[in-house]
């Protein structure tokens, strides 16, 4: 039972990331009708916002320590952090330690800007082109973004730790009567889950309860009619692209301490996220979120040692098997609407 609880938590965690990426993908597809294969790359860019923020906050200058030598036998140059120069040792260290949460503040404008540039600079030229063209161009864009990141940051994953205060573990075993250390779960992963749930709730609230959101939803249902009412729906949709990019970016920032950011991250998540969108139902925001969590939990259980040893490789195909089964039973996905992708 203890392992089942842990795997459910793992699944919720993984599902949070799936759901956030799929939510953005669905927003873009639902508003602009664009199949954005660069969305995984936006998730990666978010993770690298965390890396860059961390590097900026830990900028340093060198001071020669004559008492020690470097690997060539020269006097050792040691790093002195600007943050500690400016704010004192303890406060400076705390600022550097909280780089990942602070990176959220950096990532929001950066990701919105990237989203705007992507949409206005490239993707808008492909609105009326077939989905195959959109896939090709956005896939190419994803490769370019990955290569740019690799050029500047190298190929190895970059450790980006969570703040010390949030790096511990929560002992669920004590709470649930299993005794100490029976069900231990990393605190940051719980933070990730609750944060993701908040972001998802905020996006839904924005679309549900604001006038802007209402118009966007109307535009998603019938773009032409909304346009005839004199509303510049294109501008709002461009904003939604920026919002979707920001959601993917924030998901990436918060994920950086869980899996060290690497330039391959976007591609790692892309295909699975699309499967999530399709299983949830193309264009359905609640479907994307539901499918994200369902598939995350299924994948997590399929990765348990007992299951993998019994059925080697099952964890790598289970999502696709489940997706095929769901699509056979419900061709439009769990919560898909009639007409989407059927014209």
């Amino acid at each position: 039972m203890d392992q089942i609880i842990v795997q459910i938590l793992n699944g919720l965690d993984k599902g949070s990331a799936y759901a956030l990426i799929a939510l953005g993908l669905t927003l873009i597809f639902g508003t602009l009708g664009v199949v954005n294969f660069a969305h995984g790359a936006l998730f990666m860019m978010g993770a690298f916002c965390a890396v860059v923020t961390s590097k900026i906050l830990s900028s340093s200058h060198k001071v020669v320590d004559e008492t020690r030598t470097d690997f060539l036998g020269n006097p050792l140059e040691v790093d002195v952090f600007y943050m500690q120069d400016w704010f004192g040792e303890a406060a400076g260290a705390a600022i550097m330690d909280w780089a990942v949460p602070l990176a959220i503040l950096v990532s929001i404008p950066v990701m919105i800007l990237i989203g705007f540039v992507m949409e206005r600079g490239l993707i808008k030229h492909f609105y009326k082109r077939p989905h195959a063209d959109q896939i090709l161009v956005t896939f190419g864009l994803a490769i370019v973004m990955g290569e740019v990141i690799k050029y500047y940051f190298g190929a190895n994953p970059i450790q980006t730790p969570a703040p010390e205060a949030l790096s511990g573990r929560v002992d669920f075993g004590v709470w649930l009567g299993y005794g100490p250390n029976a069900i231990v779960y990393p605190m940051w992963r719980l933070v990730y889950f609750f944060f993701s749930a908040s972001i998802i709730a905020a996006v839904f609230a924005f679309l549900q309860f604001t006038t802007f959101g209402m118009v966007v939803r109307a535009g998603m249902a019938d773009r032409e009619t909304v346009g005839l009412l004199g509303i510049d729906i294109d501008k709002r949709f461009t904003f939604m692209f920026g919002l979707a990019a920001a959601v993917a970016g924030i998901a990436g920032v918060m994920y950086a301490p869980i899996v060290s950011p690497a330039y391959t991250m976007g591609m790692d998540w892309l295909v699975l996220s699309f499967v999530v969108v399709v299983v949830g139902g193309m264009g359905s925001l609640p479907g994307a979120v539901l499918a994200g969590f369902v598939l995350g939990i299924i994948e997590s259980f399929a990765s348990m040692p007992g299951v993998v040893n019994l059925l080697p490789g099952i964890n790598q195909i289970i999502i696709y098997v489940v997706a095929i089964a769901i699509l056979l039973i419900r061709p439009r996905g769990l919560m898909g609407r009639k007409g989407v992708m059927e014209d």
Partner: protein, 450 residues
């Protein structure tokens, strides 16, 4: 009226013969070569450096390439000469190889066997490379080694740690300076026993490909021989990034040691997951829970950051070694590039020097003559003490380093400390050892190619 000699049948015949000739691989033609593939002219010789320039091991590949360029510089008489000054053999004099200036071409393996074979083939056929070297994955090394055997050129393996490279899949034209999984097990196990005791229960997470299998097999055999028990072993996909589902069950599995048979990004992420789940602070079976990473590299340790502190593993070479050869190499490399070389850089630099030395001693570039010069060759001054290139399997035997993640690093390069230099005798094995493919595995015949 002119008379034509062409007939329909004649044209067809000529066309068929010409077509077949053109489609034959270049290395099968003996045009202008002195009985072997890509025999060099009088002025220069071309070496092929086939490294991952893209893909997950691109950082290792970049360091390999730096070392190759440094080796070429030294062979051609540039720089400070590096390990040419400390090498026990004195036949290399900075005038290239056998009086030919050394040139090189590079290829990108992408850490994919197909891509690696394609780039090696191109370097042999189009660029006239007489020797191929490089790699950063055992799968790639085995694939390229087989191609070099077929083409009749020498393959001087770079970073490849699987037993199979000089075991099950060994080839007469292939040579490996890097150590292997068996040696890691033999060197590491006694240190683990001394540190953690002989009453331990291990849980293995193993990368699901050739290198992972041989490493798990070697570590299991060595630790079980000391009294450890293996509780479970789980294969993890090479593409896995989040290892939480694999790590979470470990704590309650009855194990008190987690062995991560992972390399590169896999190791960085699996170790991160293990630390996040509190394995380093946990207790099991009344003992502190321990993590072991059999194969370390400094580049990998840098990626894993704080998490590597106190964790044991093995490495082929480390820049902090104090022998003359290692220090000469660190000085050359550090002065040129501004940071110390990795073990990948060391092994590729040494392989290049060893090839040049063997050619010079043999007085010929012919692969079989070079192979003969390398077989059972003993040398010193290139790091790790006295070294033997064993003729039976073309595997180098030298001291193996057991390292530990440093608790208080003084710089970003100071991540690992050498805790034991395991003498070569302790890591030697019978060439027909079962882990190496048994008696059936043979080198085959040396191939001079064209």
């Amino acid at each position: 009226m002119s008379k034509s000699n062409f007939t329909r049948r004649g044209v067809l015949k000529t066309g068929a013969v010409a077509g077949a000739g053109l489609t034959l691989p270049t290395y099968l033609r003996a045009d202008g070569h002195a009985g072997f593939t890509n025999a060099p002219g009088d002025s220069e010789v071309v070496l092929g450096f086939n490294v991952p320039q893209t893909g997950p091991y691109a950082d290792e590949g970049a360091d390999e390439l730096r070392a190759y360029e440094l080796a070429v510089e030294h062979l051609n008489g540039g720089g400070d000469g590096g390990m040419l000054n400390t090498f026990s053999s004195k036949v290399l004099d900075g005038t290239g190889i056998l009086g030919r200036e050394v040139k090189y071409v590079t290829g990108d393996t992408q850490t994919k066997s197909d891509a690696a074979r394609a780039s090696a083939r191109s370097m042999i056929e189009k660029d006239g490379a007489i020797m191929i070297t490089g790699g950063s994955s055992s799968g790639v090394a085995v694939a390229v080694q087989a191609l070099c055997q077929e083409a009749g050129v020498i393959f001087m393996a770079g970073l490849t740690h699987s037993n199979d490279t000089t075991g099950k899949d060994k080839k007469a034209n292939g040579f490996r300076h890097f150590f292997n999984s068996y040696m890691t097990g033999a060197a590491l196990a006694p240190v683990l026993a001394a540190q953690y005791g002989t009453d331990r229960k291990a849980y293995h997470l193993t990368a699901d490909y050739n290198w992972g299998y041989t490493t798990e097999e070697a570590i299991r055999a060595s630790t079980e021989a000391m009294g450890w028990e293996t509780v479970n072993s789980v294969k993890t996909p090479l593409t896995q990034t989040d290892f939480s589902s694999y790590v979470a069950p470990v704590l309650n599995s009855g194990a008190d040691v987690l062995v991560l048979n992972h390399y590169g990004g896999n190791m960085i992420n699996s170790l991160t997951s293990a630390v996040q789940f509190g394995l380093r602070e946990a207790q099991a079976n009344g003992q502190n829970f321990e993590i072991v990473v059999p194969l370390y590299s400094r580049l990998m340790a840098r990626g894993a950051g704080e998490n590597v502190k106190g964790i044991f593993g093995s490495t082929n070479w480390h820049w902090s070694l104090q022998d003359e050869g290692s220090q000469a190499f660190v000085r050359s490399f550090g002065t040129k590039y501004g940071f110390p070389p990795s073990q990948a850089a060391h092994t590729t630099y040494v392989q290049t020097l060893l090839y040049a030395d063997a050619v010079t001693r043999a007085g010929s570039f012919a692969p079989c003559a070079v192979a003969e010069a390398l077989e059972d060759y003993e040398f010193d001054g290139l790091g790790n003490g006295k070294t033997l290139y064993r003729g039976d399997d073309h595997q180098c035997f030298k001291d193996v380093l057991v390292v530990k993640g440093k608790e208080n690093p003084e710089s970003e390069f100071d991540l690992l400390e050498v805790v034991e230099v395991t003498p070569v005798d302790q890591v030697m094995y019978d060439p027909a050892h079962p882990q190496m493919g048994g008696a059936e595995a043979t080198l085959g015949e040396c191939n001079n190619g064209a």
